[in-house]
């Protein structure tokens, strides 16, 4: 089961400039682990102490994963995952 993941510009150095890549996993945590196995280092940019970083937004289809159980959020064939850096500051 392969899931399409949209990669933001700032993380494309990890994916050889690919805008979208494929990864496998039944939930978001597994998906990120698989992504990091293919593109080492990218996981650390998404996670901190085992949780999603505050300034990274991840969506499954149109839904913010924070409302779907974060790393526990289920993904299924045909879902698309989008990673976006928060636009925020002080």
């Amino acid at each position: 089961m392969s899931i399409d993941i949209r990669i933001p510009t700032i993380l494309r150095p990890y994916t050889k400039d690919q805008k979208s890549v494929q990864a496998e996993g039944a939930n978001l945590g597994a998906l990120i682990a698989d992504l990091d196995a293919s593109y080492p280092g990218i996981g650390e940019r998404l996670l901190e102490n085992g949780a999603l970083r505050r300034f990274i937004n991840i969506y499954i289809n149109d839904e913010d994963v924070r409302f779907l159980g974060s790393l526990e959020a289920q993904v299924k064939d045909g879902d698309s995952v989008t990673i976006l850096p928060a636009v925020a500051g002080g």
Binding site: P8, T9, I10, F55, N57, Y59, D62, D64, R66, T82, L84, P85, A86, V87, A88, G89, G90
Partner: protein
């Protein structure tokens, strides 16, 4: 260098005053690969705060979809500082996630509000570089 129209500068300054004492924010989009500041899109500061701004995560996704659908890019990301000068704060630098964008800051603090404090920066890997702003008619 950032080239931007007087109309956009005026609109951003007006937005910063209208939303004072909260910080205001938004983007300017342009055709993909052009680097041209072509279309102003004010955004809601979902933090509604005088010291923080954040695009709502739903608005953020909608924005990137719109940019993709229209073959556009985010040329400028702007926000206001309400009581401090118009340069990136430590938080701004920590959050800056668009290495290709011009980060524009406008200050709406009262003592300088009659004059325009409108500055542009690149923020890449934590390094801030101020750049010239060229205002066109």
């Amino acid at each position: 260098m950032l080239e931007i129209s007087q109309t956009f500068v005026d609109a951003i300054v007006a937005q910063s005053r209208a939303e004072y004492p909260d910080e205001c924010c938004g983007v300017i989009l342009g055709p993909e690969g052009s680097g041209k500041a072509g279309r102003l899109k004010p955004m809601v500061n979902s933090a509604h705060s005088p010291t923080f701004y954040e695009f709502d995560p739903k608005d953020l996704l909608a924005l990137y979809r719109e940019v993709d659908d229209n073959d556009e890019e985010i040329v400028v990301i702007y926000h206001s500082h309400t009581e401090t000068e118009a340069r990136p704060s430590r938080t701004d630098i920590a959050y800056a996630g668009e290495p290709g964008a011009h980060y524009v800051l406008v200050s709406s603090r009262e003592e300088i509000a009659p004059a325009i404090e409108f500055r542009s920066f690149r923020i890449i890997d934590g390094v801030v570089t101020e750049e010239e702003v060229s205002i066109t008619e």
